[in-house]
């Protein structure tokens, strides 16, 4: 596996070279050359902004198919709150889990009780016992961890090294199933219904872990039709019981829910990748020191705004909030249990997260300085209006590409016209 696996990929056939995506990408990872977009694996953080904005649906997410679950003898589905946001709140949570099982799973589990485990560990260990540099950052969103690794490596010491509720659930449920039902480990497949490509990347290119218990991820958008159909068949049923939920845990699907469930007084909850970047800029300057906890999600509204969902993010947010408020929340696990989990190392990162170097002009600082001087020279000749028709997001980005031999000055339509005029006159 190369280090640059990404679940956001481009389908060349559908790409019209329109340049919509290049400006939206927060890490300037996309270039359009020869009328086709391409994504730089080094820079992409899998936020999915390009998937959202592409009018031709050329940017795609690599996810698993329902076919893939057949590789396992016993199939388990993990259902995050974002799924519930796709359906009318009157349906009832139990029916949705049942409808998921009808897709071919032996069992479906709601993620919310496992969010509670994360809440307890964060609150009772990392915050109360002061085990982490303040303000503590915990992100259930893999995009945020990548962003920190790439652009704000100094903030890594503030990041709580706890796996996501998805992995907590996968670990507990898989281990339990293997022992109770007498299966071999490789017979049990755990599949997460994902609102985004970033989570797919998170189990393929592991951060902080050497092994993931989650075996596959299935796009919620892809199964939405079948789920709706199954729900239709369940319509006549009164109520479906037998699943566990937590109102507190359901809140994790929307921005602010995490902070509220760990009862942090001074918290900051930020959603939307650009807003997150702004907050991290401030944190890096040493500001916001009085904050205890920072919660950050790449998508607007939290995971209910994920790029692989169907329902409008704001509608989904209102629904999940309503469900969270009307669903019972069991008591959080106590300090002793938290300690037990921590000591067993069950849910903490085992690998150190190394900063990733931002892509610089040159690996050698001296050469990078020389190149920067050239960039400034070239910039003087470019119009400076960041029109994007050259295929780079800004004039500066084009100048940098030229210096590194990845583009030519005449890729700029204004420069090209000037050159043609020169020839005409000459």
């Amino acid at each position: 596996m190369n280090g640059y696996f990404h679940s956001v990929v481009l389908s060349e056939d559908s790409c019209k070279g329109c340049t919509h995506c290049i400006k939206r990408c927060p890490t300037e990872a996309i270039r359009v050359r020869d009328r086709k977009a391409s994504i730089s694996g080094e820079r992409c953080i899998d936020c999915g902004e390009c998937i959202r904005v592409c009018p031709y649906h050329a940017q795609k997410a690599v996810t698993d198919d329902l076919e893939d679950i057949k590789k396992y003898k016993y199939r388990i589905a993990l259902v995050p709150p974002a799924v519930h946001g796709q359906f009318d709140t009157g349906i009832g949570l139990g029916k949705i889990l049942k409808a998921v099982e009808m897709l071919g799973f032996d069992e479906a589990y709601d993620i919310s009780p496992y969010c509670d485990i994360a809440s307890a560990i964060i609150q009772k260990y990392y915050l109360e016992e002061e085990k982490i540099t303040r303000p503590a950052i915990y992100s259930d969103c893999p995009v945020i961890i990548r962003l920190i690794q790439l652009r704000y490596p100094d903030l890594l010491e503030n990041v709580i090294p706890l796996v996501s509720p998805m992995e907590i659930a996968a670990r507990l449920i898989k281990t339990d199933t293997v022992s109770k039902k007498n299966f071999k480990r490789e017979d049990v497949g755990v599949f997460y219904l994902t609102p985004c490509p970033a989570r797919v990347t998170s189990v393929r290119v592991l951060i902080g872990l050497s092994f993931a218990y989650t075996d596959g991820l299935i796009s919620i958008r892809k199964i939405f039709g079948s789920l709706s159909k199954n729900l239709g068949e369940l319509q006549s049923l009164e109520k479906v019981e037998g699943y566990e939920f937590s109102g507190r845990g359901l809140k994790w699907g929307i921005i602010g829910g995490q902070s509220q469930s760990i009862v942090s007084k001074n918290y900051l909850a930020v959603d939307g990748i650009e807003n997150v970047i702004n907050v991290f800029e401030e944190l890096e300057l040493g500001k916001l020191k009085n904050m205890d906890f920072v919660e950050a999600y790449a998508c607007t509204g939290g995971c209910v705004g994920g790029p692989l969902l169907v329902e409008n993010a704001f509608v989904a947010k209102t629904r999940v909030k309503h469900l969270a408020d009307t669903t019972h929340s069991p008591k959080l696990i106590g300090k002793e249990k938290v300690k037990e989990f921590i000591e067993a190392g069950l849910f903490t990162w085992t690998e150190e997260i190394k900063p990733k170097k931002m892509v610089s002009l040159d690996p050698n600082i001296g050469k990078a300085i020389q190149k920067m001087e050239k960039v400034e020279e070239i910039l003087k000749k470019l119009p400076g209006i960041d029109c994007g028709s050259c295929g780079a997001p800004t004039c500066r980005a084009l100048a940098e590409d030229i210096v590194n031999g990845r583009a030519r000055e005449v890729d700029c339509v204004f420069r090209l016209r000037e050159k043609i005029n020169e020839i005409d006159r000459g």
């Binding site: 100094d154 900063p355 600082i365």
Partner: protein, 144 residues
Amino acid sequence: MSTGDMVKLNYSVNIEDFAKAGDISSNTKKVLKKLGIPSDITRRAAIVTYEAEMNIIIHSSGGEIIVNIDTAKIEIIARDYGPGIPDIDRAMQKGYSTASDHVRELGFGAGMGLPNMKRCSDGFLIESQKGKGTTVTSTIHIHN
């Protein structure tokens, strides 16, 4: 070792221009990252430029910030045209501030700017003349 090549950034700073506050620092940071300067050094340079920018905006009648980068060091020169700092030793004390209530309401005026700048610098010098202005020079070595 310096090869003679140098990147020079030049920004002018207007008084009371809070809307652009932080732009110089974030722009400088972008350049340093593009040059592959290690992140801890970049962060220190960002803090120095940010505090310098804020001091010019809040306490002076306008000025400029120049950032010179070569392979050995980053030099940040923050120069303004008045009113000058009457007692530099005092201004350097943690918690000392003459910021107005209006500025404090905006979240500045903890009296930590200059001490923070010094803490982040390898070399630090303030020159000030009453009525003429202040020049703060910070040097940060690049070791890697």
